[in-house]
Amino acid sequence: MTERRVAVTGIGVIAPRGIGTAAFWETLMAGRTATRRITHFDPADFRCQVAAEIDFDPLAVGLSPQEARRMDRAGQLALVAAREALADSGLTGSGLAGSALDPARVGVSLGNAIGCTELMEREYVVLSDGGRKWLVDPEYAVPHLYDVMVPSSMAAELAWSCGAEGPVALVSTGCTSGIDALGHAFELVREGSADVVLAAGTDAPVSPVTVACFDTLRAQSTANDDPEHACRPYDRNRKGLILGEGSAVMVFEELEHARRRGAHVYCEVVGYASRANGYHMTGLKPDGREMAEAIRVALDQARLNPDEIDYVNGHGSGTRQNDRHETAAFKSALGAHAYDVPVSSIKSMIGHSLGAIGAIEVAACCLAIEHDAVPPTANLETPDPECDLDYVPKVAREQRTDVVLSVGSGFGGFQSAIVLAGEGKARR
């Protein structure tokens, strides 16, 4: 039996300054930043007061009043992105139920790091009467409270949106959730457990509890007086990460299945690997060893050499620790080619949306292959001497882009890499 190959046949994105794939790509290509003073709540008492927010009205983008009421913002973002991805794939605009697909052959793999935090926090405030009560009041429990507590409810909503009755799960490996959910979807299609999988990531962390968490870690930028330039990956004057929110959903489809129905193929997913650093929940060793290993294994699976990579989408969170770590990983895994290949961080523009960003970054990589162009690293003014690669400062580039590597790194020590290839480069 020939090996099953995995095509990307649909993309949906909702990101800061990027509601819809077209707007998202335009923001990236323009190098525009979406970081601003937080408006979701009054951030005056917080160390970091900046985030990349989406101006999002659930009803205006087509969610029903009940969907808007019962679902956390992260679930709502994913549902909006899923609808765009499904329509884009041509599998039908309103879901797969009416198509010829067997629902048992359709799955969902949704990455998410922090669950339904935003709604959970709002409900907690009511149940506890503003934090006054430890023994919270059961009579204030909303009917969907259990779904707020178990984030698998969001994977269920995606499954319902497309009639999926095959493998459905939420992948929650912290900041690599998005990329790992895509890796899981890739394996489900490749091994034959499904023909079509919604491969996705979503998170909406711009709420007080999550901003407070990152405050305690001193991980966030404190450039509160200059929000537009607050996130500066690879720059000597970086101050830390900026939280963002968003979702990307892609349709991963068995290649022959896609060809039979004449679907547009953006690219193929050709390699994925993940490693754990077994070192520290938040700390990274500067040698980037485990990320390098993940990159090597993913390339090996793709049967591609390092020098065939045209673009690297970096983790680029905006912390010194990360920048050193991944720069070392690229040098170790890609050798001399690390100095030639463009590397950029779109987090500089749309922030770090935790379990979503890995999927959003892969969506950007698919679009880079589609458009033969790579997004820049915004705010990169003064390169850090420790970061001596080509990080595509400030201005997007048009260039032949066939093979793309995207990496993620996160809490728990997880390091992941995924490789995409356009037509011709996948499986010579």
Partner: protein, 408 residues
């Protein structure tokens, strides 16, 4: 890279923290004796809550079992996981320091996060202000904490993961462990852990209306009984050491059994008129294990304890096996439903049944419902050779999965 399904995944080590026992030995003895741990809630004052009976892990002292620096930065779910992982490694005679780091992985499941840890810090945030949120909140309450802490503690650097699918996560992670082994990793610590017992965690479980409100521990959780009135929530964890079969043979470690079959199926959206898919999950797992229904010696049922859901499970079993054609047990009647931990604890019981040739009973059920024609093992444990066992799990919103374990 893809070495394919030729590699077999066996279980060579077990670790359990359950309401019925910390450690496999105590858990198994109490489970065989049918000694229930369901009891009036002590974790918090129950007077304001409609839920009266739960399955708590009694006398769990993390400081006696784990380094204090780890205890302060972890939620109870993670402490359960760390303790289980340690037991599974000991049981499987595996010293991680002697193994190649990338040949060891951790894949866990969790449904509700670190509920009590999270509520405490949320209270700090709202009662005292953002600067009073503890430094460990960021790494303790979220779902990836368990795989992260276990991989760090044992230097396991292979492909790791975290799966959330309500209760079904406890099987999903083991299915993933088998996939990781087929892809070339030798050892995977895998299983589910959960503890949702804080006031806000408890209140979150009320609205679906599936939790029993009985105040009688002996009558609160009665799956397949005419008096079934819901389930009792519990807490706990189980971790399996899953190993590539040739490695176990080379190490001379006797496996409990093989993870021979696994399948998952999701139910259609309510109201679409399409039926549930539990049957497909069961048939998929059997086909994957190359088993006929007649090969199955015992089924560890999901046993929701909710009449309509019990009927659906019985119907799926009857469709696959014939009416009351296979022995069925629900040992979780002694622990309550442990969310993501529950199905992994059932896997432990199934593997011990294979090893010892005895099936633990379902307790408290006295009047099996005529709507649920199953051969339920009641009263005494049933001594019988178990070559093949099926474990079933379902979760809120339509998750279904089944695992087949086989004697090696």
């Amino acid at each position: 890279m893809n070495t394919g399904p030729s590699k077999r995944a066996v279980v060579t080590g077990l670790g359990v923290v359950a309401p019925t026992g910390i450690g496999v030995k105590t858990y198994w003895a109490n489970t065989l004796d049918g000694r229930s741990a369901l009891a009036p809630m002590t974790r918090m004052d129950p007077s304001g809550y409609p839920i009266k009976v739960i399955g708590e892990v009694p006398d769990f002292d993390p400081y006696a079992l784990l380094p204090s620096r780890v205890v302060v930065e972890t939620a109870l779910m993670t402490q359960f996981g760390l303790v289980c992982a340690e037991e599974a490694l000991l049981d499987g005679e595996l010293d991680p320091a002697e193994q190649p780091e990338y040949q060891m992985s951790v894949v866990t499941a969790n449904a509700t996060g670190g509920a009590e840890f999270g509520q405490r810090e949320m209270q700090n945030l709202y009662a005292k202000g953002p600067s009073q949120v503890g430094a460990y909140m960021a790494i303790a309450w979220f779902y990836a904490a368990n795989s992260g802490q276990i991989s760090i503690r044992h230097g396991m650097r292979g492909p790791s993961g975290v799966f959330i699918a309500d209760q079904v996560g406890g099987l999903e992670c083991v299915g993933q462990a088998r996939r990781v082994i087929r892809n070339g990793t030798t050892f995977v610590l895998s299983g589910g852990t959960d503890s949702s017992f804080s006031p806000s965690g408890l209140v979150g479980q009320i609205p679906p209306g599936l939790v029993s409100l009985s105040d009688d521990p002996a009558r609160a959780y009665l799956p397949f009984d005419t008096a079934a009135s819901g389930y009792v929530p519990g807490e706990g964890g189980a971790i399996l050491l899953v190993e590539e079969a040739e490695s176990a043979r080379a190490r001379g470690v006797r496996p409990y059994g093989e993870i021979a079959g696994y399948a998952t199926a999701f139910d259609p959206r309510p109201g679409t008129g399409r039926g549930p898919n539990l049957r497909r999950a069961i048939e998929g797992a059997l086909a994957d294990a190359r088993c006929a229904p007649a090969d199955v010696d015992v089924v560890f049922a999901d046993g929701y304890g909710v009449p309509e859901l019990d009927r659906l499970e019985c119907r799926a079993l009857a469709e696959v096996f014939g009416p009351a054609a296979v022995p069925v047990t629900v040992p979780k009647t002694t622990t309550g439903r442990l969310y993501a931990a529950g199905p992994t604890v059932d896997l432990v019981a199934a593997l011990l049944a294979v090893r010892h040739g005895v099936v633990p009973p379902t307790v408290n059920v006295t009047a099996p419902s005529p709507d649920c024609p199953v051969d339920l093992i009641l009263g005494d444990p049933r001594e019988t050779a178990v070559r093949t066992a099926l474990v079933i799990a379902r979760g809120h919103n339509g998750f279904n999965a089944a695992v087949v374990v086989k004697a090696v």
